[in-house]
């Protein structure tokens, strides 16, 4: 199925979780947050199984401000 990861279409297996997508995005182990369909997905719910067309943002802190 297809999801949108950080703005890019991504082909993933059915049953893929948010946590698996975080790994796929190349995120560091800490300092990461996930938004699923425009709302924060707390780390405690990263086991959530994604559905076709889900929009996932994986963010971390960088130099700025």
């Amino acid at each position: 199925m297809r999801v949108l990861l950080n703005g890019s279409p991504q082909e993933v297996d059915a049953g893929t979780t948010a946590a698996e997508l975080v790994v796929l995005a190349g995120a560091p182990p800490t300092g990461v947050a996930v938004a699923l369909d425009g709302a924060v997905l707390p780390r405690s719910r990263w086991a959530t199984v994604l559905v076709e067309g889900a929009t996932v943002e994986v963010l971390t802190a960088v130099q700025g401000g």
């Binding site: 950080n6 190349g26 300092g31 996930v34 130099q63 700025g64």
Partner: protein, 249 residues
């Protein structure tokens, strides 16, 4: 001090240490953006607290979600709230800013808003429950200093929360002026990180903030139009013209 603009982490580390800062800003970006993810490790090692910002956000909804993501990622409810109107000026969109501030305060955040130097907007932000107000001296990254010192004085005079000058500082004298005008702190990045010698400029800024703070609280003299001698005005030695030997000397 902010972390933006440093060419590499080693330069940033030396500047942060020289500045003496205990709190520094970071931005939230997509992990594939290649934005140097080592900054968190550096700040942890230096024992400097992290203040995430909402830089780049253009509307209240975007800023609120970014703040919530920052809280989730970094475990802090402190947020430097930025909602800018356009890329050319990077000036705050104060309508969206006040809206976002109200929503974030309701959501339990400690909100530190980057705002214009408008005393009325500063008051609205304080009324919204912001923990401080952070007016600009001039637009972000311009180094133009404090373009409207009187506005800043009015903000300071009316504020019941700390006032932090945020943006526009170019050199140490700008930081001194901000503190002399009554600001509680300054927040700066570009002036240090893009200086030829960031570590040395960071040291200058630290000294400037301390100097301005002391000058503000030391009770400066009133300004006067005519000179006022600092040496005693009595008991002058006066030349005795009747004594030839003295007159010749």
């Amino acid at each position: 001090m902010g972390t933006g603009g440093a060419t590499n982490l080693a330069v940033l580390e030396r500047a942060l240490v020289a500045s003496g800062t205990e709190l520094t800003t970071v931005a939230m970006r997509r992990v594939d953006a290649g934005g140097g993810t080592g900054v968190l490790g550096l700040l942890e090692r230096l024992g400097i607290a992290v203040l995430p910002n909402t830089a780049g956000c253009r509307g209240a909804a975007e800023a609120v979600l970014t703040a919530q993501l920052a809280r989730e990622a970094l475990g802090t409810s402190w947020i430097k709230l930025e909602v800018v109107a356009d890329e050319r000026t990077l000036l705050p969109d104060v309508v969206e800013l006040v809206d976002a501030a109200e929503r974030l305060v309701d959501d339990g955040f400690t909100v530190l808003p980057y705002t214009s130097d408008d005393p009325v907007v500063a008051r609205r932000l304080e009324d919204a429950g912001c923990a401080a107000v952070m007016p600009l001296g001039s637009p972000i990254g311009t180094g133009l200093g404090i373009r409207n010192p009187h506005n800043l004085e009015m903000i300071v005079a009316a504020a019941g929360v700390p006032v932090i000058l945020d943006a526009g500082i170019g050199t140490a004298s700008d930081a001194v002026l901000a503190m002399e005008l009554g600001c509680d702190a300054v927040l700066l990045a570009t002036a240090v990180t893009r200086a030829t010698d960031p570590e040395r400029m960071a040291r200058a800024m630290r000294a400037a903030v301390e100097a301005g703070f002391d000058a503000r609280h030391a009770g400066r003299i009133p300004q006067r139009f005519w000179a006022q001698a600092s040496s005693p005005v009595r008991d002058f030695w006066t030349q005795d013209t009747s004594n030839p030997s003295q007159a010749d000397s």
